[in-house]
Symmetry: D2
Subunit: 357 residues, 4 copies
């Protein structure tokens, strides 16, 4: 018997990615789709149509037949208690309102940023800071919820934090500087990046993104002690840009380690990183893959490795401008590991750890 789950924000692009991931999932069965009032009451396939009758389904192929006829519910009236998990893919404002309602009875796994920086909310990347899940006890107690809210990080944070984790553990980190070249899918379709803006161009600013990357990385890599997560002492500084790539965020990273590490030692540590996720359905075969091909990683060619759940690291080399400096380029799939599929992996982890039943 699979667990019943609901997907809220099911008509949006992130919600569709939840459905693509959850079709035929061995643990979870989607038994409800919810969205804003505008879509409520329509069969899902109808809710996806625009005025020209064109179906706005942005994942591969078509939505599973199981979902096509399912009637979309109004998110504000969803009976969360009927589900083992509510996955939410909604804007931050809506999340702030709806997620606490659902969490009264039910675990909520969210792609929204609304609760990421709250003191009693773990910001989970399975395999990186799985232990932060212990914060959920505090969250439940303080808020008086039976369920909880676990957000996943910003898609640009994820690959960075994954790649930093084994280096932090092995050598310590003193400072991290990162420049991203982000895919346009990160901006979504609603108010998304115009072709007129991004074609043959680079846009050197993504509002709010750099602050998120900086704070979230420090929280994710911070130590859990007592019932607190202490952000890392080392600073993280980011420059986030947008390039004409569909999927896959590329990040050029510079960092100082606490103890000097050679390129070979760092490569070995990255290659050896094992998040302890074996057995989880959506987990990558390897958390990190290190390539020696100097022309890789490339977003178009490498983003689908391990089902888009792996962080690919290349161009690992010494950096001469920082003390104990290393530099590398990483690639992380922003709409798989960095979004819905990453959120499903969180659910699989929490299920394994008994937080979801």
């Amino acid at each position: 018997m699979k667990m019943k789950v609901a997907v809220v924000g099911a008509t949006g692009i992130a919600g569709q990615q939840f459905l693509a991931t959850l079709a035929d999932h061995p643990l979870f069965e989607v038994t409800a789709l919810a969205a804003s009032g505008r879509s409520a009451g329509k069969p899902y396939i109808e809710a996806l149509k625009d005025k020209n009758g064109s179906i706005g389904w942005w994942c591969e192929g078509m939505p599973s037949r199981d979902f096509q006829g399912m009637v979309v519910q109004d998110a504000s009236r969803l009976e969360a208690a009927d589900f083992s998990i509510v996955f939410t893919a909604i804007e931050s404002d809506a999340a702030r309102e709806l997620e606490p309602k659902y969490a009264k009875t039910t675990p909520v796994i969210s792609t929204a940023s609304a609760f990421r920086m709250e003191q009693d909310v773990p910001l989970l990347i399975p395999g990186v800071n799985s232990g932060h899940a212990a914060l959920l006890e505090r969250q439940r107690k303080e808020r008086g919820w039976k369920g909880f809210v676990v957000p996943i990080p910003n898609c640009t944070t994820t690959g960075l934090a994954v790649s930093l984790k084994p280096l932090q553990d092995a050598f310590g980190l003193e400072r991290v500087l990162m420049t991203s070249m982000q895919a346009i899918s990160g901006a979504g379709r609603n108010g998304g990046v115009l072709g007129l803006d991004i074609t043959e161009n680079v846009i050197p600013y993504i509002p709010g993104e750099e602050e998120k990357v900086q704070q979230e990385t420090q929280k994710i890599l911070g130590a859990f002690e007592g019932d607190h997560v202490h952000p890392t002492h080392f600073p993280v500084s980011a420059t986030c840009t947008r390039v004409a790539v569909l999927d896959g965020h590329t990040e050029a990273v510079y960092l100082s380690t606490s103890r000097r590490a050679s390129v070979e030692e760092a490569a070995e540590v990255l290659r050896g990183f094992d998040g302890g996720l074996s057995g989880l359905h959506s987990a990558p075969e390897r958390m990190i893959r290190v390539t020696d091909d100097p022309f890789r990683p490339q977003p178009r060619r490498d983003r689908e490795i391990d089902g888009g759940m792996c962080t690919v690291v290349g161009r690992l080399r010494e950096d001469s401008a920082l003390d104990n400096g290393l530099k590398y380029v990483l690639l992380s799939h922003n709409t798989k590991m960095g979004a819905a599929k990453g959120a499903v992996l969180v659910a699989e982890l929490l299920h394994k750890e008994g937080q979801i039943r």
Copy 2:
């Protein structure tokens, strides 16, 4: 009476940019075009044609009528003594062979990398290190030449060095880390980047580029003392990537200043930078323009400012990961300021300073 100049490598894309720049130039008149033996003997317009009769002219419009009928000479037989300047736009191997021959009698201004790092060769960016031209006396004497060779820097170095110069002068620099997002025109057409490789993609490696940026920047910003240029003590570290942009290199810069500088102070210094180039025909109205629009600079929208000769700096802000840290994004036109037009500006400077007569 204008000075007679020759353009060597005239059929290539960089050579064409020389011709586009030199058409109707107030000081210089192109009286000879030279290229490899394959093109020699043909009228210029014929030398540009491929087997389908398609004219491979890659600048705007068509080549000036003055050039169309000019018969292309064999570069290896060019009588350099007939010209006041030889501008070269050739591969490094060819440059190593031909430029010393020309320099016996004639000043050579080159876009090739062959001689950039030689001890007696200044690597000039007018307005940034004009004083390094004093090295030419040593070059002439040591090599026994009447002329000389002056290369311009790699196109990725130029904008970086321009933006660093006023900060170095005002506050001192301790370290510089840069990630570039470079235009495909930088790779030229001969062995250039394939559409299959760059469309919807980022290529995180450009062979040799990072080393050039690091070494050249240190040389350009180094002090001229006695008859030597001493590279800067501060290190420069680069990650150079290629993106789907036609022209204009975008660079995300992080740096530590020696004396703490606020964002406002740094902006003032950048805005106030005056290279002393007024009166030079190809000089930009301003060496540096600082924009407050957080979404700028963008290569497609900003590369043509001041005829492609200006460095546009945006997103200037404090950097929390470095001591006295600042970060910004710059844009420099790689095939104008960073190539032929920049080389013509060097010629204008050397003419003004009496090095070219």
Copy 3:
């Protein structure tokens, strides 16, 4: 003394193109800018700013200083009588309401489609059907207006009609089939094409476009007799697609002529086409340029010829599938000749012919 003109819809992309065209115009001086109530009351430069302070000016450089401080008026309250011309760049619904109000007192030149197919409204392309301006007398009389409304055609119609006109005159036309590859600027910024949709893609449908091209071409090339324009007897069939090009519509045309014409005869007729526009400020040097280079026209390389006002025809050859068949590829700049600059050319023509005083 220049004529005073107003630009309505001045903050949109088409309105901006009017301002770029009219800055320093020898005949017309923009003395009022109007837009929707949301922008009204703000200095123009402020009205262009978004919430991040980024200036949404999409033409080259910056708006003329003359316009930057001009306070934007509410389009619904514009006193049209104060101007010699009102140029409108607004949506069709707004045009249907506002343009008749302005036309009571003042000539209106419009980029909107609202009135294009009305019986008493000429659809003017200067040089192609200048004579249709005679319809204005009927329009004034029937509607009781002192002014009039003259729309320009859809941007995809314009290049097609220009290229057909001399062939129609010389040989007669029996049928026309056209497939377009249209630039994304044609869709504007408001509800414009997303980068996620057009990157590495072709979209084979543009709602309403094919019908417009078919009907408008037949009207433009139709005969003016008495006080009617009779649409051409020959049919026009179009397939309109969108490609990842910023500006410039490419169209592959197949046609049957009434009298057999060789490729050479057709080329001569196209080359010789003189629209009688000499003396008009915005007119191209040539209405049509015919290229022998089989790889041209290309939108990126050829769209700016003659200031974007010329139709470039290439690949002219016999067509074996139609009787008296010819085929060719044309390029027309959709946001210059096909939009505001084309509308200004209409105004120049009507001024010369005494319809605007």
Copy 4:
């Protein structure tokens, strides 16, 4: 026991596509890889490396482990008699020399154009003109070969011919006019389309392509009588352009049927087209899929349907400019159905029909 096959031209992009298709094929086992002398003698994975050590494998993931260590043979010395089939993916000049040598003993299935228009050579699209295989008897007899050469058509011909076949059968055809928007993968990597040429552009000419499409379509859809294929009486006219798409050729088709057909009748005929390929491993589930979504087919979103082996037809509508006119837009995957995978499908068909043993 699988049949042993060789792939010639195995290091090129089309050869790689053969390997990707043939890995784990139920009937065929690749036991030899051949290429030019330059690659001969190297393990396959080494032969793919460039001077930077970067592996030039352009299909998904990595080559099958079975192939990585296989030593590449010199194509000019391949012992064809050792194989049941030789698949060739080589340039036309090489094909003209090598394929007759292989065919003396062995069936050759080729992506090259060298023999396509020979009188005794069938140009096969399984399901469209399977019966033309009967020509092989004549070919064997006339040339004195034990094997034969069967080329597949040009990738632009394939989708067109597939879509025309059921319409020809049901209604007859009088004329066909087609404009293509072709992917850059069609030009390959060797002398392929430069990013500088195709980015933000359309190139309106592909040398030789239009003639191939016209002649090949007439041959494929021609009648086999006695021992001849008679090309169709109806003419085919093409305009072939290149757009910034990676894979998937989009074609806008106009045609006249002999008997009038409504849009509904034509759609039904297209939908009902059954090539009789059931049971063939590489065959699509449906030869043709007809979409009602006016915005489809789109190359990026639809090219992978049915493993890239299906022709997707959309925008089917009446055409007013031709007698009994219909028009539609089709999409065909140029490097799957239009190349190696299509060639493997030919081999599967010929095996089923007993031509290959």
